[in-house]
């Protein structure tokens, strides 16, 4: 049975290889190959899942060892897989949502002549992501970790002819690299501390290591998580990543890849458990990001960027939960799964809207679309209700649990974290309502005005077919796109409830992550009710602002905070001024130094030698007699020398 694990990774990898090396002759069928192989790995996942359910909770962990990768002295890197409940959850999420989004892309990328390569990249991503969650040691995980980074680089920059896309891709990869640095340092620390970096031995022997060392490892892992999961301070790439095609945003930058950080933290639970400091930092990062993303999400008029902000904030929830320790891990993962459903659904909905609106992304040019694209409206709406945590839907369960856990942390930090989480919930309700209203309700602002504003050059090839600058004709997307949306909508409605009833999810994950029920200082009911209240408040404000009054097509100047939030709270400006400019100056000056100083010294020596010989050559006056004089003098000196030698 465990031999199937390798196939999980192999299938999409094969797809990637075939599609990328296949050449043009595969253009006709490429997308189907990709989709089928993604589905294959989903099916294998189901099979393994069924098999796993058949076993008792304790012996559910499957391992498969392929071969020894790097054997050098004590440094033994293995290529081996480990499939336990945690990995299984991810496998199903990744391959499932992945397959759906493959399917969706078949329609979405229909008019792109490089569709084959797009599916190649998607398959590559699936393979890397599955490798990431299936690896049984940190180094192999690192391979998957960077693999997904590469895939996301390729996909964000898929429309390379757009400079903005190329830049965004580069930025994403670089910021991720900073995180990867953390991961590699963490691995080195593990190697020097434990002499190994396989999950089993390391996590088993955390008890013997010093807390300081564990804290260091934990913080390094956290750094890695921040890079991949777009947490403050490494969050700046996620917004730009929306340059990529919408399915990419849905799959990679909402559902799966960005949650890898959460996976890493939960996977390293023992390390974090042993180091309260690391946990504290984790929770702080989560809380800050939670608010940060939410605020950014409120200000964006670009629908995808608004959703990106919300993604950031939701992952903030997960990291916060993961930082809480055993009381939070389970809920972090649970929220991760539900979020995977509804956020993917929301993105696909956004994509479908753009598909019908000549790839217009500015929500101020939407409005009243519910009549024109009913399915999209319904699915998007369900996703909306799920994410704001409408009672009964997925988001409600998962988010509510997290807030409870946050309060349950106890002490002042418990209160702080809990209230931050609550505030986040309110803001979530606000900005999601805003998106909903601006897109599907209100008067139709897209009438009689060309879409695709000049400063947002339309990228998606579909635009060429609709005629970019004509008045848009909103229409429902084809089945191949709507079916995945429907499926995801179903998931985002029922998943949460399914997991929570009888604490299924807790029992499922407990063997891996451990679970301790945290009791909030106030009763769980109070927490839930307060959540409801803030939710209503948030939604209400949004309605007051965008539902009652007409939405101006051109964004108003807005308050200072709004303007800052539109610019990602000046994060990018900071990066630009400090890192980019500074870096440019540094490199320029270094190039100068290299040319003048390091090189100059050498050339200077050469020049001085030349000058000296130039003077010496004056002695060469060409008169044989003066040469003879020097010769004669030399002879005299020789004699003198010999005499002196004999003297002594």
């Amino acid at each position: 049975m465990e031999n199937l694990i390798a196939l999980l990774v192999a299938a999409p990898l094969l797809g990637a290889a075939v599609l990328l090396c296949g050449g043009r002759r595969l253009d006709a069928v490429g997308h189907w190959i990709g989709t089928v192989l993604a589905a294959v790995s989903f099916v294998i996942g189901i099979v393994l899942f069924a098999d796993m359910l058949g076993k008792g909770p304790e012996e559910r962990t499957l391992t498969q060892h392929l071969f020894t990768w790097i054997p050098v002295g004590d440094f033994q890197a293995e290529i081996g897989f480990q499939l336990d409940q945690l990995s299984m959850t991810f496998v199903l999420l990744i391959s499932g949502v992945g397959s759906l989004i493959h399917l969706y892309s078949v329609g979405y990328m229909e008019h792109d002549e490089r569709r084959r390569r797009f599916f190649g990249y998607l398959n590559l991503f699936l393979a890397a992501m599955l490798l990431l969650v299936l690896a049984d040691n940190y180094l192999l995980l690192y391979v998957g970790w960077e693999g997904v980074g590469l895939a996301s680089y390729l996909l964000i920059g898929f429309w390379q002819h757009k400079p903005s896309a190329a830049t965004a891709a580069k930025k994403a990869f670089l910021v991720n690299r900073v995180g990867d640095m953390g991961l590699s340092i963490a691995i080195m620390l593990m190697f020097t501390t434990f002499g190994t970096f396989a999950f089993g031995p390391v996590l088993a022997s955390t008890g013997d290591a010093s807390e300081g060392m564990l804290t260091a490892i934990g913080l390094m892992l956290l750094l890695a998580a921040c890079g991949k999961s777009a947490q403050v301070p490494l969050q700046s790439w996620l917004g730009d990543a929306m340059e990529g095609p919408t399915p990419v945003s849905a799959l990679i930058h909402a559902a799966t890849m960005v949650t890898a950080g959460v996976y890493l933290i939960v996977r390293s639970a023992d390390i974090f458990n042993a180091s309260p400091d690391a946990q504290l930092v984790t929770t702080v990062v989560g809380a800050v990001t939670l608010l940060f993303g939410a605020i950014v999400g409120c200000a964006k008029d670009d629908i995808k960027k608004a959703l990106a902000g919300s993604t950031m904030s939701q992952i903030g929830y997960m990291v916060l939960a993961a930082g809480l320790g055993p009381i939070g891990y389970v809920f972090a993962i649970m929220h991760l799964v539900t979020h995977g459903f509804f956020k993917a659904g929301l993105f696909l909905g956004a994509g479908s809207v753009m598909h019908g609106m000549n790839d217009e992304v500015d929500m101020r040019k939407y409005g009243g679309l519910r009549k024109y694209m009913p399915i999209t409206f319904v699915t998007f709406g369900l996703g909306y209700l799920a994410i704001i945590g409408f009672p009964g839907l997925s988001g409600f369960f998962s988010k509510d649990k997290i807030i409870e856990a946050a309060f349950a942390k106890g002490g002042t930090e418990g209160w702080i974290l809990g209230s931050v989480a609550l505030l986040g919930a309110a803001i979530t309700a606000y900005y999601m309502t805003r998106v909903m209203l601006m897109t599907f309700f209100g008067e139709e602002r897209w009438r009689n005005q060309p879409t695709a504003s000049p400063d947002e050059p339309s990228a998606e090839p579909a635009a060429e077919h609709h005629g970019a600058h004509a008045e848009p004709h909103p229409h429902e997307s084809p089945k191949v796109m709507t079916i995945p949306m429907i499926v995801l909508a179903v998931g985002s409605v029922f998943a949460g409830g399914f997991f929570s009833i009888g604490n299924r999810f807790e029992h499922w994950l407990e063997p891996v992550t451990g679970y301790k029920h945290g009791n909030p200082p106030v009763s769980a009911l109070t927490v839930t009710l307060s959540t409801m209240v803030v939710l209503v408040i948030g939604a209400g404000i949004a309605y007051a602002q965008y539902g009652r009054r007409p939405v101006p097509v051109v964004a108003p100047r807005g308050s200072l905070l709004t303007r800052a939030a539109r610019r990602d709270l000046l994060q990018d400006d900071f990066n630009h001024v400090v890192l980019v400019r500074g870096g440019e100056h540094l490199t320029r000056s270094l190039v100068y130094v290299d040319h003048t100083l390091v090189d100059g010294v050498v050339n200077g020596t050469a020049a001085s030698v030349g000058g000296l010989s130039g003077r010496l050559r004056r002695l060469q006056n060409g008169y044989a007699r003066s040469y003879a004089v020097s010769m004669f003098g030399g002879a005299a000196i020789l004699i003198a020398a010999t005499l002196l030698m004999r003297g002594v």
């Binding site: 050559r617 060469q620 006056n621 060409g622 008169y623 044989a624 007699r625 003879a628 004089v629 004669f632």
Partner: protein, 99 residues
């Protein structure tokens, strides 16, 4: 008298010849001075051979003469051709040997 005096004489002649080579410009005279030096050496050789009581010194002197003869022949030829081209026998006129 101590035969070492021959050596002193040889040294004296040699020095005179060398100085001559340095201060005269006329190639022919320079050559003569070279001959003088060679002869001084020969004298020294002969004196040595007498001191050591074997003939090797004389042999060397003999070879020196032969070489000197050859050298004079070539040298004078050079002087002549030099004179042909430059219309002067001054060693300073052949001063192209510089950078």
């Amino acid at each position: 008298m101590n035969p070492v005096n021959y050596l002193y004489l040889a040294a004296l002649l040699f020095t005179i010849g060398a100085t001559g080579v340095l201060i005269r410009r006329n190639a022919i005279v320079v050559f003569m001075c070279v001959e003088l030096m060679l002869n001084a050496c020969n004298l020294a050789f002969v004196a040595f051979s007498r001191m050591h009581g074997n003939l090797d010194g004389q042999i060397i002197a003999f070879f020196t003469m032969v070489v000197a003869a050859a050298e004079v022949v070539v040298g004078l030829a050079i002087i002549v051709s030099l004179f042909r081209t430059r219309h002067s026998a001054s060693v300073d006129d052949a001063s192209l040997m510089k950078l």
